[in-house]
Subunit: 346 residues, 2 copies
């Protein structure tokens, strides 16, 4: 398969900003931190004013916590962990305290983090006792000699690093328990037998799409221009069999290099199959696409396979994009002047 | 950050086959299956003739098993699982029966598989009772509604699919036990205390690099031109804390689309950080590089970060590459005529 230079040139012209729309920001409104709190069927009429206020307040608090780090000379990594920790500690999001439940009624948490400056990365999967999974992921990156740790071993490691350990019940919330019970009723009707009499399992039934997609994440750039990305989740409501989604998988749900940082939220299986986060970085690096063009391309690719969700991406110059193909996505930004913007709907 | 078309054109010219070396194969020697049995310090003088013969015979057997599937009209997926199953059942390789041991003296197995035609994928991590992890990965892909399952949940799923279950002791071999004991002696000297008096863990000591890199894998193309990739491993000798390497991570240790299929072997942490397998596919798709150029670029990128290992990659036209930056890599090919070639050294 020989490469056609002509085709490539045409391709690049078509995809060049000359021929497509691109946001450009003045130096005065460079963005330093972008966060998300999950994508889903978020519609203006469907959400009470009280609930909307609670989400807006918590997103603002997370942005403020991250911004403080950067303003005071902290690393982008510090901003990412500060913002995510606020969301993990809140029952509003499907991460940390608000995590959805497994088929068995447990909370199994995943998180990952990546340092764009060094391409170092850390991740934890299936942990049940570490209060802030994003801090566990950071410890793995900085202290373990590994990238990804899982299960009781990861918990043992986190404890050895002095991280706060909680009883698994800490993550239990009545709201998530009720969600699970509702879904289990539908689920029991869905399991089928195939012709071999072996069970075939469809993706778990989800009656409230928010439960599936409430993953949180943050991408930041610090005063040195270094980027970082972090993602944390409780996974998919009613998940079974030690299912691991995209959030703890470097390249799928999270990625950062010296050009762009990406955190994803959505139907994880599709993000793994499209290697979503690295896919964005690749299109920027190899085709020279803008952060907006590249991230929108990948959300389109996910949509073409039948997947739904969104992502946030922030480039080294402070340009960002927050594409999603769901009705809404909890998201927010803060710029260098500390100006905070929070959005939920399209 | 605006995109410079001129720079891109220059870049593409430099990387175009016109200006670089590229293998081209005649229609008569199109390759249908490429396998690896791990990369490491494999030197002609260091290996007994008997040991070399055993490896060559087993690689030949794996290639034959995969070739039979394709010759008889089977899918590339069938060839991949047939070849990997042979290597998993042999104690020679660090996968299945020959898996290395964890710090605690257990065998925890990882595997993944991807169908290039559909971009469907399946993976298992940290399983201890399924005789052939690659078959578990395939079941996850075809029957679970998920991509990645882990631990006891993954085992429970595999059992529900009728896969062969063994006692964890099935994977125990004296050779791997002795390797672990040797390493544990060195390891105990390596753990340090940092200034916070929290432990910092370096990557586990490995005295025999083969133990680290003995992962197996296969990439195949069938008569319809569909590609598939599979990878299976026992991970890293003396691994701790539920460590997950690149092998079960789609995009890192394994990837396939309709253009190329890739399976990796090496120091997994570097393959995750460089999103190695998808990195190859990206460079082929977005820059039009050949399978050889793209895979060599990625091995170089891994080397630049300090990582070692190799990979196999097979494109839709039957061109392949097997780059590695170690002394050797167990590898083999079979073409459409059934001609088998096996290599170990550089």
């Amino acid at each position: 398969m020989r490469f056609s230079i002509c085709a490539a040139i045409v391709f690049i012209f078509i995809h060049s900003p000359v021929f497509s729309q691109e946001y450009s920001f003045s130096d005065n409104d460079k963005y330093v931190l972008v966060i998300h709190g999950g994508a889903g069927t978020l519609l203006p009429g469907k959400m009470s004013a009280e609930k909307e206020r609670a989400y807006r307040d918590k997103l603002t608090e997370a942005l403020s916590a991250g911004y403080e780090k950067i303003k005071n000379g902290g690393q982008s990594l510090d901003a990412v962990t500060a913002a995510i920790t606020v969301m993990e500690d809140s029952p509003l999001f499907n991460a940390g305290k608000g995590a959805v439940m497994t088929h068995e009624g447990k909370n199994e948490l995943d998180a990952s983090i990546m340092d764009g400056a060094t391409q170092d990365a850390g991740a934890v999967a299936g942990i049940t006792t570490v209060k802030n999974p994003i801090l566990a992921a950071r410890s793995v990156m900085e202290k373990s000699g590994h990238v990804m740790l899982s299960g009781p071993g990861a918990e043992h490691f986190a404890e050895s690093q002095g991280l706060e350990i909680v009883a698994p019940e800490y993550f239990w919330t009545e709201r998530r328990w009720e969600n699970l019970q509702r879904v289990l009723e539908k689920d029991s009707a869905q399991v089928e037998l195939d012709h071999d009499e072996k069970q075939t399992f469809s993706p778990p039934v989800v009656d409230n799409i928010d439960d599936k997609f409430g993953t949180v994440g943050a991408v930041a750039r610090d005063k040195k221009g270094s980027l970082a990305a972090g993602t944390s989740t409780g996974g998919m409501n009613n998940k079974r069999f030690g299912r691991i989604g995209d959030s703890p998988i470097i390249g799928a749900g999270n990625y950062a290099n010296n050009q762009v940082a990406i955190s994803c939220t959505g139907w994880g299986e599709f993000y793994i199959r499209t290697v979503a986060a690295y896919n964005v970085a690749s299109q920027m690096k190899l085709l020279g696409l803008s952060v907006e063009e590249a991230s929108e391309n990948v959300i389109e690719e996910i949509g073409n396979l039948g997947g739904t969700g969104g992502m946030i991406a922030l480039d080294k110059d402070g340009n960002y994009a927050t594409p999603f193909n769901t009705a809404g996505m909890y998201r927010g930004t803060v710029n260098e002047k500390g100006e905070i913007k929070v959005e939920i709907f399209k």
